[in-house]
Amino acid sequence: MRFLLEKDLRILRRSPLLVVLLVAYPVLIAVLVGLALSGGPDKPRVAVFSQLPEDSGTVNVAGTTVDPGRYADELYKAVDPIKVRSRAEAERLVRDGEALAAVIVPADLVDRIQSAVSLSGSSKRPTVEVLYNAEDPVKQQYVESTIESRVADLNRAVSEKLTSIATGYLGILLRGGDFSLFGQKFEVLGLQRSKALVDGVAAGEREGSPERQALERVSKFAQLAIDNLDLSDDVLDAVGEPVVVKRTVVEGRRTPLDAFAVAVAVTLSLMLVTVLLAAGMLALEREEHAFARLVRGLVSKTGLVAEKVVLAAVCALAATLLMTAGVSIFVSLDWGRAPLWVVALAFGGLAFGALGVAIGAAAREVRAASLLAILLALPIAFLALVPSGAVASGLYDVIRVVSACFPFRPALDAVDAAINDAGGLGTALLHLALLTVAWGAVARIGLRRFA
């Protein structure tokens, strides 16, 4: 096998155009996929469990009415809502992939918003919970941005009112006046009058004198200012984000989108380099008419399959490691996990190599093998990237089964786990090992009609 490997590497070295294409084409595809990843489905299916009563009311802010229900309607327009009757049902839909996410609206949302803006309620801030299926960071990010943009609309409307309240408070603090808190009325001196009083104290400091009383009034004002500044922390928080979104992941793991995009790009490159190389190099043996000469006792057919798989995997490993290193210039990657990258890419390369050899065994010449490899590999990759919830659940089950029969999905899982610590590396590697054996067997059977 060593001599065949040397021969094939020498042939590759003398085919610069092929090598350039093998590197450039995957990079181009990876960029295109990266761009595609920045988009999302038109209307994600989102389960909604609203515990708000039928007439949940409105929020009164400084005499102006804000209707949270209007913003909920806006959210429903942006998504394909599935109204459910319990949190458990919402969780199940997300876990099964029938919904991309679920929004849980608490019964006391409106009351809490009212409390937050009136300074009279509890410290609990109004919270909307969103459940995600994080198996696919692309769809997770899309749903997150859709829901959070709707919540942001509500927050902006409430915060505008709160800003006017804060402005009133500042006016009182500056000029003085009446201020109502917890049902009691206070007369606030204000900084301007305080200054005048303090100036007056400077004239005399006798016990029980008006100057002393004036100083005591300044002290009370200072205390009041301190108390209100303490309260203002909550006010300012509420102004910034009156309604909080609590994120809960019910399935999968969290991988930032840019890190996931790296995993997709690397896996896509690994697939294209390996499949094209394995298919092409095996088809080359027949195109050069050398296959029959090799297998008449010089090399076994199984040995030939193994050699092409190893050749393609080794070359693709080198190319994708270089690519990953290059990507790390732009995206922060944990180089301490580099040994795991090598393991994931090696297993992925072997599985893709076996698939490539099977394709090569089905074709009669290099060009046909390359075309077949592209025609088969790209749809498999795109199929594996279809998010759950984007299609009907039955169709998604079919897609999952088809994806499991090809190396892209497990290779993506392995690379994602290796690069981003997304978990599940062992399972993905085992899956890839099984696919290597299975596709290797298909290739070996295909060679029966190869001569």
Partner: protein, 233 residues
């Protein structure tokens, strides 16, 4: 003359189609045998079975394929490798004891020493065929199988090829070749095997074939055509 190569009742089926039917013959050391016949007669199939590229459906071949040099019709060498690299690769795969010596020997025998560093893709068809034959001879086999070796060569190259093959036969190598050019069979073969529709119709010298059809034909090709016609082909 002892048999250097023998086939006994060799048959080959592809599904319903019978490509070879009970073909038996033997070849002595240093003997040159031409396998001739119309298109689809089974000539290449017979050589492939003798060379171990295909397995017979039934019947046996006396030699282990690894002891036989096999040269396919189309040059089975790598266009991106040089002459020397091709020879060295196959010498290693053949597990030749001294690959460097074998490469040097074949470069001398084929007269390609000055082209040793050239990629195969840059050589003429004739020179590629010489390398193709050289690969078949690397392990110095006692038996050499050539499948239409002269089909892509011009007359001068054909002359050099047959001189080369004649030298091998004189040195004791048994040569079995297929050809569509029956004049070549008459000129260079000790015996001819006539195959038609997978059946061995004749095995003997060119003169015997002449005699078989009455000996009144103007040349060997006419005698061959007459023979086939008389046998219903």
């Amino acid at each position: 003359m002892s048999a250097a190569l023998a086939a006994d009742a060799v048959s080959k089926r592809y599904g319903e189609r019978e490509a070879l039917r009970d073909v038996s013959f033997s070849a002595g050391a240093g003997e040159t045998i031409a396998v001739i016949g119309p298109n689809g007669a089974g000539k290449t199939t017979l050589l492939s079975i003798l060379g171990g590229v295909q397995r017979p459906t039934s019947g046996t071949v006396s030699r282990d394929p690894r002891e036989v040099g096999w040269v396919p019709q189309q040059a089975a060498v790598y266009g991106k490798l040089t002459v020397e690299e091709n020879l060295r690769l196959f010498a290693r795969l053949e597990k030749v004891r001294d690959p460097d010596e074998a490469v040097a020997r074949m470069l001398d025998q084929t007269g390609l020493r000055d082209r040793a560093g050239d990629e195969l893709g840059t050589l003429s068809g004739g020179n590629r065929q010489r390398v193709n034959i050289a690969v078949g001879l690397l392990a110095q086999p006692d038996v050499l199988l050539l499948d239409e070796p002269s089909s892509s060569l011009d007359p001068r190259q054909r002359e050099r090829l047959w001189e080369f093959v004649g030298g091998l036969a004189r040195a004791g190598t048994t040569v079995v070749f297929t050809t569509h050019n029956v004049q070549e069979a008459e000129r260079y073969a000790d015996r001819v095997l006539v195959l038609a529709d997978g059946e061995l119709l004749f095995a003997g010298s060119p003169d015997d074939l002449h005699a078989e059809v009455g000996g009144d034909q103007r040349d060997f090709e006419a005698a061959f055509v007459r023979f086939l016609h008389e046998r219903g082909h």
